[in-house]
């Protein structure tokens, strides 16, 4: 019993060590500038919030956080809305070629962004969407949608058909069954798919870097990659900005872990 507790503790300690690079970045974000370069002591003499002050008041980060939050929320909502309807059709309705379409969805999840970025760039330019939220939302929705459909089709197939049949015996049409029986049952699955779509959009860099030009639409990863340094690299400020960029992923792995794990496992392991 005691040995088991010790073992559990050691595993937790090892995993805390694994997350060490992140904790180091957190420590860097509150370390005084004078103690950053060169690194003389592991622990700083005192903690400071100057880097956060700089990020909030003298950088484009606040604007980028707003852009990222807006783009990620909207694209995950659209992806789940479109995906749920399509997934129901592919899972339950006699649409010709649905098996091929589902396989196409898996193939589409594998498309490398570097191959589609040039046509999408030309398309966004032709539509006059460069440097807008809409360009990023469209790109992120199209990238997340195949995975969302694949996940939700699987979750819908797991619902016992008897429940839907019971509803139709009670006189409910297909759409009413979808609305009142299927969607409530598949709500946890929609949360999983939505979380993955949100995380993908929040972390997405290549499209955002290529389609944006100004602070009007630059997202957090782009702002972080382009973080300006006047004479030298502001490592403390970058660390503070990284911490802010990490907040939604932290919330997801801590508070929504169950949904995240379920989505990841279903995406990888489902038949």
């Amino acid at each position: 019993m005691r040995a088991g507790r010790l073992r559990d503790g050691l595993v937790l300690l090892a995993l805390a060590g694994y997350a060490g690079p992140f904790f180091w970045q957190a420590l860097t974000s509150v370390r005084p500038d004078a103690e950053l370069l060169p690194l003389a002591h592991l622990l700083p003499s005192h903690l400071t919030l100057v880097h956060y002050d700089a990020v909030f008041h003298r950088s484009l980060m606040p604007r980028a956080l707003g852009n990222s939050l807006g783009v990620s929320l909207l694209s995950s909502v659209f992806a789940v809305a479109l995906g749920a309807l399509a997934a129901y059709a592919l899972a339950r309705l006699p649409v010709p070629g649905r098996r091929v379409m589902l396989l196409g969805m898996i193939a589409a999840t594998a498309f490398p962004q570097i191959a589609t970025v040039s046509p999408l760039y030309l398309l966004m330019r032709a539509l006059g969407l460069r440097d807008t939220w809409l360009a990023l939302i469209l790109a992120d929705v199209s990238f997340a949608l195949p995975l969302v459909i694949w996940l939700l089709a699987g979750f819908i197939r797991d619902i016992p058909r008897a429940l839907e049949e019971a509803a139709s015996v009670d006189g409910a049409g297909r759409l009413a069954t979808l609305r009142w029986v299927v969607l409530p049952l598949v709500a946890p699955g929609m949360a999983s798919a939505g979380l993955l779509a949100f995380l993908f959009s929040w972390n997405e860099f290549l499209f955002a870097y290529s389609f944006t030009a100004t602070e009007a639409s630059r997202t957090v990863p782009v702002a972080l990659a382009l973080f300006p340094g006047v004479f030298e690299v502001p490592w403390g400020d970058i660390a503070a900005a990284s911490l802010l960029a990490s907040l939604p992923p932290i919330v997801i792995v801590v508070a929504f872990q169950r949904y995240l794990v379920r989505g990841l496992l279903a995406g990888a392991l489902r038949e």
Binding site: G4, R7, D8, V11, L12, A14, L15, Y18, A19, P21, F22, W24, L37, P38, L39, G83, L85, A86, A89, L93, V95, I106, A107, A108, A110, F111, P112, Q113, I114, A115, T116, P119, L122, L123, L138, S142, P146, R174, W202, N203, F205, L206, V220, P221, L224, A225, F227, I238, A239, S242, A245, S246, P249, V253, V254, Q257, L260, V261, L264, A268
Partner: protein, 288 residues
């Protein structure tokens, strides 16, 4: 009658998603092939048919072969390390009774962070004068990202850190489904430790590890953010993958056709791995 109505409803529900996917996924995926057959340099208003000339150029382009080699090295090394380390972590986690949620949160954090954040974090860890890595090594001043011999290994370490939790999670989930009775029975037969691992754990975990390996290979082949931000392909092109080369051609020298041709090469390799994956799950499907 009802069947026809259901089919019509099916198409109606599918239509929005198919329009989005058709316009923003399928069409670009076909268009990139078309672009790769053209010379397109918009700033000089150049736009003419090139046929296979860009591919002929790639075949003798040393920079292309260097990028292909870097991509292959990066993929093989990082995926191998991720699978080994991921399995080890899963085995460590298996017996965990207390604090499982905390353990998974600590593990999955690395996976959930934006790769730009990971790149910035490792850039700072590797800093010659301010980095923790040199400090831990006793105050060395190794220039990890500036040394052509060290930059690729340093990049691989960063990617392994980021992606291992995914492999670990898949393996861990599989391990939890193995009934303990199997091990008890093996113990009765005198098999414990390494033997039990070889006889019970390994055969059951292997299919999952194979799936994880294919997923990771797909992602490693198309990885872009981490090397673009951490090393920018340098020093001296030693970390320039095909994706970084394609990006440079597309958006820095603005050769849309040529950059698309490199993108197509990545596309083809990735799809070959994806077909292997589809075959694999197809085989399982048939077996089930």
């Amino acid at each position: 009658m009802s069947e026809a109505a259901d089919r019509r409803l099916g198409w109606m529900l599918l239509a929005p998603a198919l329009v989005v996917l058709g316009g923003l996924t399928v069409y670009p995926a076909l268009w990139v092939f078309w672009l790769s057959f053209q010379y397109r340099i918009p700033v000089f208003s150049i736009a003419r048919w090139a046929g296979l000339e860009q591919y002929a150029f790639l075949a003798v382009d040393p920079r292309f072969w260097s990028a292909a080699r870097v991509t292959a090295l990066f993929t093989v090394a990082s995926v191998a390390l991720e699978c080994a380390l991921g399995l080890a972590i899963a085995l460590g986690l298996r017996g965990q009774h207390r604090g499982r949620r905390v353990a998974l949160a600590l593990l999955l954090l690395a996976w959930a962070l934006p790769s730009v954040v990971t790149a910035k974090m490792f850039e700072w860890l590797y800093h010659p004068a301010g980095g923790l890595v040199n400090f831990v090594l006793g105050g060395r001043t190794i220039n990890w990202l500036g040394d052509p011999a060290l930059a690729l290994p340093a990049l691989i370490v960063a990617d392994v850190w980021r992606a291992t939790p995914f492999v670990a999670l898949l393996c861990y989930a599989r391990l939890l489904t193995i009934p303990p009775e199997l091990y008890e029975a093996a113990q009765v037969d005198g098999a414990a430790g390494v033997q039990a691992f070889a006889r019970i754990t390994w055969p059951l975990i292997r299919p999952i590890l194979l799936i994880a390996l294919l997923f990771r290979t797909l992602d490693a082949l198309r990885a872009f953010d981490i090397m673009f931000v951490l090393t920018g392909g340098g020093p001296a092109g030693t970390t320039e993958t095909l994706t970084v080369y394609a990006y440079r051609a597309l958006f820095q020298t603005l050769q849309i056709g040529f950059g698309s041709a490199i993108g197509v090469v990545v596309f083809v390799f990735v799809m070959l791995v994806a077909v292997a994956y589809l075959r694999l799950i197809g085989a399982e499907d048939a077996a089930a």
